[in-house]
């Protein structure tokens, strides 16, 4: 393992002066030249990358397993999936290492990360970068139409690389709900007419918090205050309608709101068990994938609200003390490759939205995407519409806290 040239210098700097200066930003932020990427590839060969990613989904685990076999084949990088039950475990791990002064050779080489966890790590100087926009496959990324350069309104600045697009959809069972309610007021009416047949994952689960945000946006319309920190807004006025809505909805929820499913997948299980009829999901392809895996009835379908739904990107980031930064960059780059993106979008595999722009892709790659059968329950991009941007992360925190206070500890 001999690494050469500027990048090795950058990596050395990154290893020795992490929190203060970060890596040499000049060599990475300006975009890697071909010969520099070559140095990353050489350094990466033989490295083992421990990717800390949520391990609760069988399909995601299988996809990561496939990525591991491919990067081994092409780049000689060994990828190990550290299966977390909560992404924050990895965040606290890196923090513990920083507190203990272990500024190199950390246990976490790469994290699947989003929103509040990213904000937290970036705020504590726990991330390596910027690197994302210097990766070769960045050229195909749809920076114009997809929100991949901000993460919950926080500028990404190259500290994490996008690998999947997510958008809120609602899953319902066609056999039980002929006309799904396509707005939050309609959902409330439906819940009153069909009591105890709807629920959402319990906040602070991210999907539960997403439901609160989605309800807020749907009830208030496009509110510019949401893109700013919550302290700068008239919080009471902005959320009055939301809390009235939740107040009315809760007694009509599954188990009258006295218990909630803890995660998204458990909520899907409730549909399969016949306990609820409608569920929220952050992945447009999830329902099709779940049908293929026998986890949802074949009659499951999805819909979006008439006013549109929230969307965001999933990212991977590299901790400042990662023991295999080059290897992690190679994996991050591979995740953005047309090959990996097309496989992730295949509902038989994952059903995740691609971060790439079809217009930028070479002809044969575009053909692979065109050939995908998106599955019985997946909406077309036109039906999905443009995703609404995520509010500032402080809204997530505040809404979740207030919900927990009002409904999460009341029994």
């Amino acid at each position: 393992m001999t690494n050469t040239a500027t990048l090795s210098l950058a990596l050395t700097l990154a290893l020795t002066t992490p929190a203060l200066a970060g890596p040499d930003p000049e060599s990475l932020a300006d975009g890697l030249q071909t010969d520099e990427w070559q140095a990353v590839l050489e350094a990466a060969e033989g490295q083992t990358v421990y990717w800390n990613a949520w391990g609760g989904s069988t399909t995601t685990n299988a996809f990561i397993d496939w990525v591991a076999s491919r990067v081994k084949e092409d780049y000689g990088v060994t990828l190990e999936h550290v299966k977390l039950s909560d992404t924050a475990d990895a965040v606290s791990r890196v923090l513990s290492e920083q507190q203990a002064g272990q500024n190199e050779g950390g246990a976490v080489d790469m994290i699947w990360i989003n929103g509040p966890n990213f904000a937290s790590m970036k705020g504590q100087d726990l991330l390596f970068g910027p690197f994302a926009e210097a990766l070769p496959n960045w050229q195909y990324v749809d920076v114009e139409n997809k929100d991949v350069q901000t993460d919950f309104t926080l500028p990404v600045e190259g500290y994490e690389a996008p690998w999947a697009m997510a958008q809120v959809v609602f899953i319902y069972d066609e056999a039980r709900v002929p006309e799904p309610p396509k707005s939050m007021p309609a959902l409330l009416d439906w819940a009153k007419a069909n009591p105890r047949r709807f629920t959402f994952p319990q906040p602070p689960d991210f999907l539960g918090s997403t439901f609160l945000k989605q309800a807020l946006i749907d009830l208030n319309g496009d509110d510019p205050a949401l893109s700013k920190p919550v302290e700068e807004a008239d919080y009471e006025a902005a959320t009055a309608a939301l809390w009235t809505f939740i107040e009315d909805l809760t007694p009509n929820l599954w188990r009258q709101g006295r218990a909630y499913p803890q995660t998204g997948p458990r909520q899907l299980q409730l549909i399969a068990d016949g306990e609820v009829d409608i569920a929220i999901s952050f992945s447009p392809g999830e329902a099709s994938t779940a049908i293929a895996n026998n986890e949802l009835p074949p009659t499951a379908r999805t819909y979006v609200l008439d006013g549109g739904t929230l969307g965001n990107a999933s990212f991977v980031a590299i901790p400042y003390n990662s023991s295999a930064k080059s290897g992690a960059m190679v994996v991050a780059d591979f995740l953005m490759s047309p090959e990996a993106q097309a496989r992730a979008q295949d509902p038989a595999v994952l059903g995740y939205g691609t971060v790439l722009s079809m217009d930028k892709l070479p002809e044969e790659s575009r053909a692979t995407f065109d050939a995908l059968d998106l599955g019985p329950a997946t909406l077309s991009p036109a039906e999905l519409g443009t995703a609404q941007p995520e509010p500032h992360p402080s809204w997530t925190t505040r809404l979740t806290e207030e919900w927990v206070k009002k409904h999460g500890v009341t029994e």
């Binding site: 924050a88 513990s96 272990q102 904000a119 504590q124 709101g257 909630y260 997948p265 927990v404």
Partner: protein, 559 residues
């Protein structure tokens, strides 16, 4: 043996106390303001400001007390009513293997059994109940924690029963019970009044372990316990893993509060013991023979014992079916179709993980066996006995909530620049495996007739020869059982593996718990089965090996 006489006992005591003590210090320091995590002061006032602190505290106390009292009562009723009968032998045979069923697997099986859309409801629907969709009943995750209490009880009854049976050989309880019977007391009443008090004195510490465990358990409470709010220990785990890093100090404060609660509960239990003793004495002095309640108590004991065994076994069976299931919706009693898909998908990943699990468990169980045998032998040669303090040390790692000292242990390791990996995991497992191994081996070790060794000594055999040629072969069956117990304990460890392995050591249990956070019942079923199989394997060996090796010596075959 050329080691100085106190080497092994000292090493064992260090392994039991150092991780707990140092871990506690480094976990709790942030709560007390040392080494404060970022985010500001007063973690205690933040803890008390959390709106759920009252209900969560109450839940920890009520579920802990209820589960412990219920498990102890069921165990006592089984032993009181049925000891020495064929029904008892059957119950014992049904319950013993449950000891090695990992808690999370048992909890998950129970959840699917009793939920309104669960297996029992499916079996009765719609032909009997008329349900084509499940009723909206709050059964699992109910706010009083009844499902949690049931799940804990199902796992603790086998443990207490084993402890009670082991204690029997060290007391004259059987003889006492016989005397009561000749005095005209019906079987169960006589046993409860006369034999139980002596036995209880022997199993007091295991009962305290059950109480401490039930109050601070995380995985079972996540699966079966309420969530609005959850129990205190679940909330602490959530704080530890919150993206808001300042909450880690609140988690540390919570851990301290949990520790105080456990200690308080132990004191309360101790007080309750005295009250129960007084009531029991009064009843015995009254001379009532109570023939009526006797029959009821016997029936109740048998029913509850069977319910415990069958619920865990049926839960495991349901998980086996899930791992082969195609689509399985309500109210179908069985899946639409069976397939090998889940096993095909997970099989290739399962094999290496199972190997790591077996390797760690073998190392931990073997080390524990060597240390424990060494301690007992040193005790026998130098004629010193563990006093009450020694027994307390033995139970220390089991009495202090894991969540209160393991995170600190991780910080400590990092501070000394130790790498996470296999050995730290093995050593941390050893801390929890040691007590159980010692519990399992101490009884049989002392039960060997000391005149055997005196006879050997008069024939000229030195201490080492007596140890290798007499003690060890005589102890083969108990040694294997103790190994199997230690092995099963190691297989079931979640938090130590996660924290000291740095997430890089994957075992069947870490996989199963990670999968539990998702909802894929098929995958959970496959891993739960693999986990249970791994824990049961050495028990099977422990039964089979002595039979093979001592095919012509009946007395050496053990259990």
């Amino acid at each position: 043996m050329s080691l100085p006489r106190y080497t092994l006992p000292a090493l064992t005591v260090a392994l039991l106390t150092l991780p707990v003590g140092l871990g506690l210090f480094f976990t709790l320091a942030p709560a007390l303001g040392y080494m404060a995590a970022p985010g500001g002061p007063a973690p205690f006032s933040r803890l008390m400001d959390w709106p759920g602190i009252g209900p969560a505290t109450r839940l920890s106390l009520t579920t802990g007390f209820a589960a412990t009292a219920l498990s102890l009562a069921i165990t006592a009723l089984i032993a009181a009513g049925w000891q020495g009968t064929r029904a008892f032998a059957l119950l014992h045979r049904l319950l013993s293997p449950l000891l090695s069923v990992p808690h999370a697997a048992a909890a998950f099986g129970l959840a699917f059994l009793i939920a309104p859309s669960g297996w029992i409801a499916r079996a009765l629907s719609p032909w009997l109940t008329g349900w084509d969709r499940p009723p909206d009943w709050l059964i699992v995750q109910d706010s009083a924690g009844l499902a949690l209490i049931a799940g804990l009880t199902a796992k603790e009854v086998p443990f207490l029963l084993l402890m009670l049976l082991a204690a029997r050989s060290q007391t004259r309880s059987d003889a006492h019970a016989r005397v009561a019977t000749t005095l005209g007391y019906p079987r169960a009443i006589g046993w409860l009044l006369v034999a139980f008090p002596t036995l209880y004195a022997q199993v007091r510490l295991p009962v305290y372990v059950v109480l401490a465990y039930s109050m601070s358990v995380v995985d079972v409470a996540m699966i079966l316990g309420p969530n609005t709010p959850p129990t205190l220990s679940v909330q602490i785990t959530r704080w530890m893993s919150d993206p808001d890093l300042s909450l880690r100090a609140v988690a540390a404060a919570g851990a301290l509060w949990q520790l105080a609660l456990v200690l308080g509960a132990l004191a309360l239990w101790r007080g309750a013991e005295a009250l129960a003793a007084r009531a029991g004495t009064a009843l015995a002095m009254s001379g009532h023979r109570l023939p009526g309640p006797n029959a009821a108590l016997r029936a109740l004991g048998l029913a509850l014992g069977l319910a415990v065994a069958l619920s865990v076994l049926a839960g495991l069976a349901s998980q086996a079916i899930w791992s082969f299931a195609g689509f399985w919706g309500f109210p179908d009693a069985l899946p639409d179709a069976l397939s090998l898909r889940t096993w095909q998908r997970h099989g290739p990943m399962l094999a290496p993980i199972a190997l790591t699990t077996l390797l760690i468990a073998s190392l931990a169980a073997l080390l524990a066996l060597v240390l424990v045998t060494g301690c007992l032998e040193a005790e026998a040669r130098h004629v010193f006995r563990m006093g009450p303090a020694g027994r307390l040390i033995l139970y220390l790692p089991l009495l202090i909530p894991q969540i209160a000292f393991l995170p600190g242990l991780q910080v400590l390791m990092l501070t000394f620049g130790l790498r996470e990996g296999l050995w730290p995991v093995v050593l941390s497992h050893l801390t929890f495996v040691l007590p159980y191994t010692l519990i399992a081996l101490a009884g049989p070790f002392h039960a060997i007739d000391p005149r055997t060794f005196t006879a050997a000594a008069t024939l000229g055999a030195g201490p080492n020869r007596r140890f290798w040629r007499l003690r060890l072969p005589l102890l083969l069956a108990p040694l294997l059982t103790a190994f199997a117990v230690g092995f099963a304990v190691s297989v079931g460890q979640y938090l130590p593996t996660l924290l000291l392995g740095g997430g890089r050591v994957t075992t069947l249990t870490t996989e199963a718990v990670a999968l539990t956070s998702g909802g894929d019942r098929r995958a959970i079923g496959a891993y739960a089965l693999a986990q249970t199989a791994a824990a049961l394997l050495p028990f099977a060996l422990a039964l089979a090996l002595p039979r093979l090796m001592f095919a012509n010596r009946r007395g050496m075959r053990g259990g």
